[in-house]
């Protein structure tokens, strides 16, 4: 069983490139070039240098002592929250901006949910002096005001998506339309492990620095490269893809993907795709997605803007269908509690997306000697208002 993409862009039955002809030249150019470009020594050098000096990698692998004591197991946190711009997203945007430059593109578009990807894209565009337009759902613009301000300060134009549910999926539609209208000079930096092939694979490869570092760091700390479990929250699934990547073929490593159950998986207000979704096509790939019997895409719900997406990336659909990964769904309430708990136990304010992953320890028992690595995908500064309102702080 392979958990990696095949040459046609499929993970098992999921993936592919279901795009209108208007996008074919762009996507085809990328498909033909991305592996070649990523292998170029000059590309590798520039990418690694920027990850080190600009992003601040390697991000620490932190042994969470008090949390480990509380849950009677060994918990490590992979500190992507310490990256420049505050989340894992920048690993991918650094990679893609270098890719775009090598493809001769002069204009960048992106979509964003929580704003982390938008900020990461605006940041690398500022770094390279390239025009940047970020599409963001009108509702997300309202609930992620600090990130909107950051993008503007970084010189990006933030365009509200006013259609549909006015959240991430609609921002993605708008970005794709922009790309259709500007096929020659524009590169679309997709922020998650979703989209037409080669995006899911390309994004996963850029994010795979996370699992590569986990291996090295765990070797230093525990004298073994493989933990017993790797855990990550999953909306589209880019931090999860990067956290899982180098463990996909290591059978002894358990993989746990944590989705947003919203107000409850069966409440009608949820984003738990693995439970509620079935096979379909969204944003250019065949994957699991939440939809009506008639094939209309359902509006998802989560308190975290970054998990508020009706699908998951095709790699994750494959991991779910084959049983390689366990999927868990965590409610808003449980996520918020887990987020606050991390603040009190470890002095770290996590992004609400990440809090979903942290909440599994209340629901699942691990052995005392188990080593569990949780991707701390982002920091919670952007979510202060949500924390304030939720807890009445």
């Amino acid at each position: 069983m392979s958990y990696h993409v095949n040459e046609k862009g499929y993970y098992g039955e999921f993936g592919g490139a279901f795009i209108p002809e208007m996008l074919y030249p762009n996507v085809e150019e990328l498909r033909q070039q991305y592996l070649k470009v990523m292998e170029e020594p000059s590309f590798k050098k520039e990418f690694n240098q920027l990850l080190k000096d600009y992003v601040g990698r390697p991000s620490p692998l932190y042994y969470a002592k008090r949390m480990s004591e509380k849950y009677g197991t060994k918990i490590y946190l992979k500190r992507e929250d310490l990256n420049h711009t505050g989340a894992h997203k920048v690993n991918n945007t650094i990679g893609q901006i270098l890719m775009a430059k090598r493809l001769g593109k002069t204009r960048i578009i992106a979509e964003t949910g929580a704003g982390q990807h938008g900020v990461a894209t605006a940041t690398v565009c500022a770094l390279m002096g390239i025009e940047c337009i970020v599409y963001m759902g009108a509702i997300d613009i309202a609930r992620q005001a600090p990130n909107v301000a950051r993008m503007k300060m970084l010189g990006a134009e933030v365009r509200p998506a006013l259609s549909g549910s006015r959240t991430l999926k609609d921002a993605t539609n708008e970005a794709i339309r922009d790309w259709i209208n500007n096929p020659v000079d524009t590169h679309y930096i997709i922020g998650s492990a979703i989209g037409p092939h080669p995006y899911p694979d390309m994004v996963t490869r850029f994010q795979s620095v996370i699992s590569a570092e986990i291996k090295t760091q765990l070797k230093e700390k525990e004298d073994k490269e493989n933990p017993d479990y790797v855990v990550a929250c999953i909306g589209g699934g880019s931090n999860a893809a990067g956290t899982f990547y180098h463990f996909l073929d290591e059978k002894e490593v358990g993989i746990i993907a944590v989705e947003a159950a919203g107000k409850g998986v069966n409440s009608g207000e949820s984003a738990a795709t693995s439970v509620l979704g079935h096979k379909g096509i969204i944003h250019g790939c065949k994957t699991l997605l939440m939809q009506t019997d008639d094939g209309q895409i359902t509006e998802p719900y989560s308190i975290s803007a970054g998990l508020d997406y009706p699908g998951v990336g095709p790699m994750h659909s494959h991991l779910h269908t084959t049983g390689r990964a366990d999927f868990m769904a965590i409610t808003d309430d449980d996520a918020m509690k887990a987020g606050l708990e991390l603040c009190k136990l470890e002095g770290i304010i996590p992004a609400i997306e990440t809090s979903h992953a942290l909440a599994i320890f209340e629901q699942r028992r691990f052995e005392p000697n188990d080593i569990i690595v949780v991707a701390l995908s982002g920091r919670g500064d952007k979510d202060l208002n949500t924390y304030i309102n939720y807890f009445g702080l």
Binding site: V184, G280, G295
Partner: protein, 252 residues
């Protein structure tokens, strides 16, 4: 030979109209088709609404959202169309995105189209390569033409490939844009129309996107076999309703 092939053999330039099924009102689908035929339209594209239409501009997207709110579904559309061939003889094409068709079941969808008398399908997000490998046989079994898009960015080599897989006509997107984005044609389009004309393809070409009036219709059909009007027709429906159809068609 289906109705599309026969229609394409006629001498004239063809006027095709796109509208969204179930818009402005749920039960407007059949009356709109009948009215279009009555006023001399050559071919009709019936839009199957989708929640997330990537290739459509705001006008068509809003009509789709509205149609879905009105209660339009794939089953409902098939029900509405079940007796359409008693009154309508011009070619009918369903245009929609792949996901709703997949959920209905591709074989069941094609079978139903054949049963009703639908002549062809336009599925913008089903790439020609995937179609050829996975679905072509099925579509052909039911006598359905599958119509593919080409754009100014499509290479000559790929256009020839699309031409070889096509069976009916080629949908020539006038410019790099989503639907309803442009109002006039310039030199760039003229060169593109000329380039495609020079390729001497086996399938005739019908131009879509950016046709909104007599001028753009004439410019688009100078070298091509016909043209499709979508957004401009939806805008008219929105303003004047079905009663506005005769004047609209006359003005082209």
């Amino acid at each position: 030979m289906n109705r599309i092939h026969k229609k394409l053999q006629e001498e004239k330039k063809l006027l095709s109209i796109y509208f969204t099924a179930g818009y402005p009102k749920l039960e407007d689908t059949v009356p709109i088709i009948e009215k279009l035929q009555e006023n001399g339209v050559d071919m009709i594209e019936i839009g199957l609404p989708f929640s997330d239409p990537l290739a459509d501009g705001p006008t068509i997207q809003e009509s789709s959202t509205e149609a879905l709110k009105n209660g339009m579904t794939t089953k409902k559309l098939f029900e509405q169309l079940k007796d359409i061939r008693k009154t309508v003889h011009i070619p009918l094409i369903i245009m929609g995105y792949f996901n709703p068709m997949m959920q209905y079941g591709i074989d069941a969808f094609c079978a139903k189209c054949a049963e009703i008398g639908i002549d062809g399908l336009i599925i913008p997000d089903l790439p020609v390569d995937v179609y050829e490998e996975e679905y072509k046989e099925q579509f052909e079994k039911y006598g359905l033409s599958n119509v593919f898009l080409i754009t100014p960015q499509t290479s000559d080599e790929r256009i020839r490939f699309i031409d070889s897989v096509s069976n009916g006509f080629i949908y020539m997107v006038s410019s790099a844009s989503v639907t309803g984005a442009k109002n006039t044609f310039g030199d760039v389009q003229a060169q593109y129309f000329e380039r495609i004309h020079q390729l001497n393809l086996k399938n005739p070409q019908i131009v879509g996107f950016g046709i909104s009036n007599k001028d753009t219709f004439e410019a688009a059909t100078k070298l091509a076999k016909g043209a499709i009007i979508g957004s401009a027709f939806i805008k008219m429906l929105n303003k004047k309703g079905i009663e506005g159809i005769p004047d609209f068609v006359k003005s082209i």
